[in-house]
Symmetry: C2
Subunit: 413 residues, 2 copies
């Protein structure tokens, strides 16, 4: 091969054509955070990554071997954009309301379903609503689609649907309302039953589609789950994923929704990447439908996350006391905690990393120009070993104490 | 679970918000074609699918088992958007000019790299050039990005760079020029050495980026390969894939290009789907780097495609004679043939399917308002069994004879 040139930036970067799309998406916060979590000396409560100890490695290895042995090349060929038919049927059958397989599109994790929905159901300049603070990946996907992103405050009961109703009455006409109705990221909040009914009523009245992103719904270990939004109105696209119940690395997620919209999602997915890995889809299907596997696996998973969640909550109460307020979770992967008056989690972060613990400061989840989240922090109890959560809380407490001492020292002037 | 509603389209489809993106992408030609090829009684020369007999199933099964055994959960966790580091290094090292791993982005097949590049390097209304006829997936990706797609005619020497030069002199200022420089889809043409030098010179002069999509370059069994475009100018993004050398179902492709642009591609990919399957990437890396595997595998692949290509060419000459003109290929997967004066491949297709053979009519590859391709057809020799290619040509000959008889019968009036 000729090695006469290098592909290095010989010409000026300013010289390279750019649509400005990457700049519009902006924040590489998730990537910077992933980098932080990779330092071996840091106990990370930052990543939204499921516990690697929970991955059914043996079942996945057995599934891969069985599929390649029995199906051979068929498992490795180009495949329909819509997804592997038996997996679509399985997802349709588990949907909380009657759904046909052709209402299911398989995607590369639910992130792709979210990004496709953002581009298909809404376009540049259209209003899209999400709760503030909100999921960073959703903020990026909506910025990428060029929509006008409208943040509506959320609280312990999820999106403040009453505030949304006010905005709608005032003339706001969103194409989409995005929610993580079960164990929201970052707040851990679950949308109350009453708010779900009201949101569904508003969708029917104002004609928007609810994008219900549900990666965490199956991780409930206490309390009663309110009715899924899809049971309350037809105007719902539900996003699901194997990332939190099997493995994120397989990149198998899905969207279930009205036929017309799912067909449009498939057209755009075809242009985006033809289809999702045939092998990943078959592995997911094989493992998920293995007799007795899923319920047993979910039981173990919930039990493990419950122990993690309770251990972190206990350790935070013990080591931080009134310095951090939070509600103990009933499921999901996150504790959303608030520092005392004046505390700034973005100031705290480098002090925490110095002491060997990481988290995500609230500012990273800011959607719009509403109230800021600087005093909040998102603590994930999913990834770290249970045995390390106590030490992580101790390190965090030392960092908070140090930050508060600094504030006192610098004083009010 | 509550089953009180159905997610069927109770409300009118006209009621569902839509950005019109799917309608803009339009043609579901690829999907309709894939459907045709699935009829068991049809010998398909339509699909652009590699030979399933060539997939290294055993090597892939061994790789999956080894990876899951040795790396366990690490192979199944969330991973960096840019891709699996050892695979990026391997790709950088094989690039025809010196490249660093950070100039490589791993994508879900090269289709995703193409779609990301379409959105990142160009935006709505920007001019993008490709040869006409051209790859359907590229047409869709560029329509999806909302660019002004400019078709420049191609011939047996690939894109007519002289015509591009005229258009540039006349004021055309494209952001991107897309080429499949080796064994183009659908024409099978390879861009001549002279045209490559001229295209590189024009890129440097007018400041556009060349998007060199290279799925077929390694499938050359005769003749000499001209110098890769990346050796002639820095303004090149080269797209590669494992789809034609290992397996399309893994969905592992890549882009190699200037750092700044690759960084922007990664930002948009993160929002699009976080990252490509960790397991697929590791499997591809494990198989590709297995000592002695790749060169041996490529030799067998080229030998097999040569036999297929020559068998189909011979059978077409034998059964169709002067009714179809084409050049015998030196590589790739396609024969691009032309019917006699007045022949229309879109009219021929249903008659051919009726007789048990399928192909893609030239009209499917139309890029712009230039000369139409109705008398052309794309015949893939890659997917069908070698033993079936003779029968496929016989069936095609019967369909052509029947079409020509119809034309005679209907007469000129």
């Amino acid at each position: 091969m000729v090695k006469s040139l290098t592909t290095a930036d010989r010409f000026s970067p300013a010289d390279i054509p750019s649509s400005g799309l990457a700049a519009r998406i902006g924040s590489s916060a998730i990537r910077d955070l992933l980098a932080l979590t990779e330092r071996p000396d840091v106990l990370s409560l930052a990543g939204g990554m499921p516990s690697p100890a929970s991955f059914p490695v043996d079942a996945i290895a057995l599934a891969a071997a069985t599929i390649l042995d029995q199906e051979g090349p068929d498992a490795l060929q180009y495949a329909p954009t819509e997804g592997f038919a038996p997996l679509r049927s399985w997802i349709a059958a588990r949907h909380p309301v009657t759904a046909d397989p052709d209402q299911v599109l398989i995607t590369n994790g639910s992130q792709q379903a979210l990004e496709l929905a953002a581009r298909v159901a809404s376009g540049p300049g259209d209003a899209v609503v999400m709760s503030d603070p909100g999921y960073i990946g959703a903020i990026q996907a909506f910025r990428s689609a060029g929509v006008e992103l409208v943040g509506i405050p959320g609280d312990r009961g999820g999106l403040r649907v009453d505030l949304l109703a006010d905005r709608l009455a005032g003339g706001l006409r969103p194409r989409l309302v995005y929610v993580v109705a079960n164990f929201d990221n970052p707040t851990g909040a679950t949308l109350t039953a009453e708010r779900r009914h009201e949101l569904a009523r508003l969708a029917d009245r104002y004609g928007f589609v609810i994008l219900d992103d549900d990666p965490y719904g199956q991780l409930r270990w206490a309390g009663e789950a309110p009715a899924p939004l899809a049971t309350l109105t037809d105007r719902v696209v539900t996003l699901g994923t194997t990332s939190k119940v099997l493995s994120p690395g397989l990149r198998v997620g899905w969207a279930v929704g009205p036929r017309t919209l799912v067909r449009e999602l498939a057209v755009v997915k075809q242009s985006a990447d033809l289809h999702t890995s045939s092998l990943s889809q078959r592995i997911a299907h094989e493992v998920l439908t293995r007799p007795g596997f899923l319920e047993h696996h979910l039981d173990r998973l919930r039990d493990s996350y419950k122990r993690h969640g309770r251990a972190l909550a206990e350790a935070l109460r013990c080591h931080l006391g009134g310095r951090l307020t939070f509600e103990e979770p009933d499921g999901g992967m996150f504790i959303w905690g608030r520092l005392r008056e004046g505390g700034d989690a973005s100031v705290l972060l480098p002090m925490a990393v110095e002491r060997g613990v990481a988290f995500v400061p609230g500012a990273a989840f800011q959607v719009g120009a509403g109230p800021d989240h600087r005093s909040w922090l998102r603590l994930s109890f999913a990834t770290a070993e249970a045995a390390d959560l106590g030490e992580a809380a101790r390190r965090l407490a030392r960092a908070v104490a140090s930050m508060e001492a600094d504030v006192l020292e610098l004083g009010p002037g």
